[in-house]
């Protein structure tokens, strides 16, 4: 490839090729666009082919590197008119498997290559174990790629999707592959519409419809997967938007030394006592609503020893953190506010949650309370004191029944 200007006139990919990173001649890498969806049948491949036609009409050299129609007539029809690189046949355990012909794609060197099913695992004996590795080679050769993937194939979401759907997806790709993509486009349909398409035979052949309906394609599965897909793409958009955000000088000065986070990240300050679990649960619920990560931090005094009750509480906190998917950290420091501030900056925390403070004694009463100290040290970070609902219920009970203990 000469890496010169391609077709500056039309199409997203062509337009992107004019970007500053793309102006370095032969060293330019191709641009990756990924259509992501909640499940098979939402129309990712269809969209990929539409994109191919649009680019072709704009005058670009477009080829199909690999297409999986799953026997869908509409998809096969749409592929007509786009040149296709023949698959290569690979023998494996007396079976002949058809795979993308990577050397042929590289030799043909189109401007844009359509490569379906990014998460596919290749048959042994070809260049790479996974198709996304083939795609990396194609991109490295300066060829733009449009590809497709289902959300459950993303490594970080695999466990979550498995828990939601009860079905383990074996073929996964590192999240970094999608994170590196120049464009991620969600192909979305409602679960009801997808089920209609499935029943109409537009997703799988007739003989596979019943099995699909009884297993993966259940309305609750699809709803959960749709939510995961929407969140994932929103996260991608947020991550890509951040570097170009305009920051005013005041915001800039406030941001100096404060955590730099792409999404929300919550930090709950805990201590090993039974009431801390309530704080962790509340923090977890907030983190879920914000689709944020949750860290737990216990700042212990240097040399602090725990009695049996505290040890048990600490162990219970660790167990709770593990089951909720939160990360628990321990730091030794005399100055709690300073330790928390350092930690928050390192982690990119955007919210700090803490429970009711211990009532100070003696000269400690003259010191600024911890929430205020945190706010002073961490401008731009929300600090939230989690209420003790049970204490409030107690108060209400006492008001209702003055004789009650």
């Amino acid at each position: 490839m000469d890496g010169g200007p391609r077709n500056p006139m039309n199409g997203d990919l062509a337009t992107h090729a004019e970007s500053p990173e793309g102006s370095s001649g032969a060293s330019r890498t191709g641009r990756l666009k990924v259509f992501i969806g909640m499940a098979a049948g939402v129309g990712k491949t269809y969209q990929m082919l539409l994109e191919g036609h649009a680019e072709q009409e704009a005058g670009r050299d477009v080829v199909i590197g690999f297409l999986e129609t799953h026997g869908r007539a509409d998809t096969a029809r749409l592929a007509q008119g786009l040149p296709m690189i023949p698959r290569r046949r690979v023998s494996y355990r007396e079976t002949v498997i058809e795979e993308m012909d990577l050397p042929a794609v590289l030799h043909r060197a189109p401007e844009l290559c359509l490569i379906d099913e990014l998460a596919h695992t290749n048959a042994p004996g070809v260049e790479h174990a996974k198709r996304y590795e083939d795609v990396e080679d194609v991109l490295a050769a300066g060829i733009d790629v449009v590809s497709t993937v289902n959300v459950q194939h993303l490594e970080s979401l695999n466990d979550q999707v498995t828990e939601l759907s009860g079905i383990r997806v074996r073929e996964t790709i590192p999240d970094a592959v999608v994170a590196r993509a120049d464009e991620v486009v969600l192909v979305d349909v409602t679960p009801e519409a997808l089920l209609e398409r499935l029943r109409a035979g537009k997703v799988y052949p007739r003989e596979r419809i019943d099995a699909a309906l009884n297993n993966f394609f259940r309305i609750e599965n699809l709803s959960a997967l749709r939510e995961v897909a929407l969140r994932q793409v929103a996260q991608e958009v947020g991550a890509k938007r951040r570097p170009t955000e305009v920051i005013s000088s005041r915001e800039e000065s406030l941001a100096e030394g404060t955590p730099q986070a792409i999404g929300e990240r919550l930090l709950a300050l805990v201590e090993p006592y039974p009431g801390a679990q309530r704080l962790v649960r509340r923090a977890w619920r907030s983190a879920q609503r914000l689709n944020a990560d949750l860290d737990l931090l216990w700042v212990r005094k240097p040399g602090q020893r725990l009695d049996d009750d505290n040890e048990r509480s600490l162990s219970a906190l660790r167990q709770l953190a593990a089951i909720l998917g939160a990360k628990m950290f321990e730091e030794e420091a005399d100055d709690v506010a300073a330790a928390v501030a350092d930690f928050a900056v390192r982690q990119g925390t955007t919210y700090i949650l803490l429970g009711r403070s211990r009532i100070p004694r003696g000269v400690a009463r003259l010191r600024m309370p911890l929430p205020q100290r945190l706010m002073a040290r961490l401008p731009g970070v929300d600090v939230r004191i989690v209420a003790d609902r049970a204490a409030r219920a107690n108060g209400e009970a006492r008001i209702a029944d003055p004789g009650a203990v």
Binding site: T162, E163, L164, R168, R281, R285, A316, Q319, R389, A391
Partner: protein, 189 residues
Amino acid sequence: MTALAIILIALFGVLIGLAAGYWLPPHGRRSGRHAPSAVRRILLPFTGQAISRRSFEAAVRLAKAENAVIMPAFLATVPMNLPLDTALPAQCGRGMPLLEAIEQRTTAQGVPVDSRVSRGRSSRDALRKLIESEHFDRIIVSADEDPHSGLSYEDLRWMLERVPAEIMILRPAPEDTRRISLEAVGGHF
């Protein structure tokens, strides 16, 4: 009395005040950090979205009588195809509000509470792991074999045979339909 004497007496008074402020806890409030040290601990295991109100009330009565701590324990099940240390957000989405509701009701009745979570390949496995790692004196379960409790008659028999604690199994009763569910959680959770 000289001015110096007055100043000395005032300073002495201030010192006494500071010392008292340091050593005495603030008036009318307890620190609330530590549960009162209890002799006994009562385990109240559950797996689903509701627990029998009778079990809960029995646990509270006993805890009050014995100055005990109630340990509501959410038992989560890890599917066989997942590693045992997997986070379980979907199950926790059901279990945590119920744990919160139980804690709120228990604390509102003046009984200390110390919650636990445990996970295993089955409810029994999760309970076994909890028993191995925690000390408690009593377990209270309801004998109504229903999908909410998650503990079958087989599990109850296993507990009687294997668990080194007093086990109180409440016999089925008409009021077993009364339950504490996750909807009982007070306030915004």
